[in-house]
Amino acid sequence: MFELLGIPPQVMMGQLLLGLINGSFYAVLSLGLAVIFGLLNIINFSHGAQYMLGAFVAWMLLTYLGLGYWWALVLAPVIVGATGLALERVALSRLYHLDHLYGLLLTFGVALIIQGLFRNYYGISGQPYQIPGALAGGQNLGFMFLPNYRAWVVVASVVVCFGTWFMIEKTRLGAYLRAATENPVLVGAFGINVPRLIALTYMFGVGLAGFAGVLAAPIYSVNPNMGADLIIVVFAVVVIGGMGSIMGAILTGYGIGLVEGLTRVFYPEGSAVVIFVIMAIVLMIKPEGLFGRTA
């Protein structure tokens, strides 16, 4: 079939894999945005900066403390999440009574500060981060060569995404969370500490961004601008999927990654803008997003 279209299968599968990798990052990042949006009703503009922070924390743990990739995979999301928790307590929580756009503006300012600070101290050239030994090398699948680390990224993101989905949709904690999304006052009346739930939710969402950053560190060079442009694409993904559903955010993330990969095979010039074109089409046909609820 591939030969019929004049595309060698290696090229096709290679680009699809690349699309799936990008899709993994879109999925984890848009999932974090959706979790935060669900409860806080703000769009976390500093999500890209926090993703970058995750990659930098991993790099710092290795460079300054000698802690390797596996430690970073656990510690970096916690550290990034903790900075998020501080941000929520100190600043964001003061804005909930205002128009939600102020949350967007505040987190935009925070993103500028974080990115500016790292650009100041580490420049824009980027720091290399080695692929961990256990995941070096790759598998020859016959029709293509699959680097182990890339396979790991896909697996890890799928596990985290579906773990999050399970936690929110199937557990008691998730039930509180969904209830607080619908009606925070009533949930508070039942004795749940809603402000704490909100703070921990923000921490969790930001932690997801940090986790994505650690996953990205060995693939892309660790540099202060790595999140800035990515987050705009993730915003488009979120608009396409609609933030109403957790599963919607996950599926849209992977789906858009694959579509982008396919575009790179058939029409390389369009790969940078295909997401925005899809967004325009979705806005025309189903403005609330593929999985969105009418606002």
């Binding site: 804005l95 925005f276 967004m279 806005l283």
Partner: protein, 325 residues
């Protein structure tokens, strides 16, 4: 939004015919200062401030009076600056025609993006406009005529109406003054027109405006296109001043800067964006040698403005004077 109070004060002034005396006086003093300015400071710097003041005022028309937060206004500002630069350099248009062509391009772009963006509200609206602006950025990066990373350089200044040479900074200054001051007066007129009053009604209570029979989306699209067009006018003019159109003007950070200018000066006020633009451009000018610190300082101003200073500079003065400004 926090500006609601300021604007509802503006209502009686708008209903009586003409401009209140205070506003007339401020515009008159402003014009006097601007006429004297090129003899006091470097004219190119003053022109930069004026272009950004018009840009911020156009943005404020949408945010402060239409209640719509666009996070992609760089697309119209930068897009118009590319088209104007191309028109002047390649097609050999005279400056006024080049500026008009750029402005028209921004209007068309605003119509296309606005048509799609007004289908979503609030936070989604901001994300949609940002995403489309990023598309314009990619286009500017890849298209042939924009010159990629180099941009369009050494745009000729040309002769105004084919008669008056704009080579001299001082002559150019008065050309820019006429455009930007005229643009800002036009925005003032729009805000205080019946159209502006309907916009206010929509922003305050959209379902009610619908129930009164207004086609809300038409008004939203109209104000979006007006705002994009005037932002384009500012961008097109800037390309003639600096003889350059570059990626900086279409980058998302430019969209952020205009939000910052408006927020700092006071959104929903007439004069706030002008003050905000002056402060930010002056700051960038003096801190240019500090590199990344400019971004950090802008971020800090953002955070402080949102947390503690939501009325903005002019908003606070307006509250002290108990007059809408």
């Amino acid at each position: 939004m926090a500006t609601t109070e300021t604007i509802s004060n503006a209502a009686p002034a708008a209903r009586s015919a003409g401009m209140p005396t205070l506003h007339k006086a401020i515009f008159a003093v402003l014009l006097l200062v601007l006429v004297a300015l090129p003899f006091l400071v470097y004219p190119v710097f003053a022109m930069k401030v004026m272009c950004f003041a018009l840009f911020a005022a156009a943005f404020n028309l949408l945010l402060g009076f239409g209640g719509l937060l666009s996070f992609g206004h760089a697309a119209y500002f930068g897009g118009a600056s590319y088209v104007a630069a191309h028109a002047a350099k390649v097609w050999g248009f005279t400056p006024e025609l080049a500026v008009l062509t750029g402005t028209a391009a921004a209007a068309v772009l605003g119509l296309a993006i606005g048509f799609l963006a007004i289908r979503r509200q609030g936070i989604y609206f901001a994300m949609v406009t940002l995403a489309f602006a990023q598309m314009v950025f990619f286009f500017a990066l890849q298209a042939e005529f924009t010159g990629g990373e180099d941009g369009i350089q050494s745009v000729p200044r040309g002769d105004l109406f084919g008669l008056i040479s704009l080579q001299n900074n001082l002559v150019l200054y008065f050309f820019v003054l006429a455009i930007t001051f005229g643009g800002i007066l036009l925005i003032y007129r729009i805000i205080h027109s019946p159209f502006g009053q309907v916009l206010k009604a929509i922003r305050e209570n959209e379902p009610r405006a619908v129930s009164l029979g207004y086609h809300v989306n038409r008004y939203k699209l109209m104000v979006f296109v007006l705002s994009a067009t005037l932002a384009g006018l500012a961008g097109a003019t800037k390309s003639q001043v600096f003889q350059l159109a570059s990626l900086t003007d279409v980058h998302w950070s430019m969209s952020g800067e205009v939000v910052l200018m408006t927020l700092l000066g006071g959104m929903g006020t007439i004069f706030g964006p002008l003050v905000g633009a002056t402060v930010i451009v002056t700051m960038q000018n003096y801190l240019a040698t500090l590199g990344a610190w400019v971004t950090i300082i802008q971020g800090i101003i953002f955070v402080i403005s949102v947390l503690l200073f939501r009325e903005g500079i002019v908003g606070v003065i307006s509250r002290w004077l108990r007059r809408p400004l």
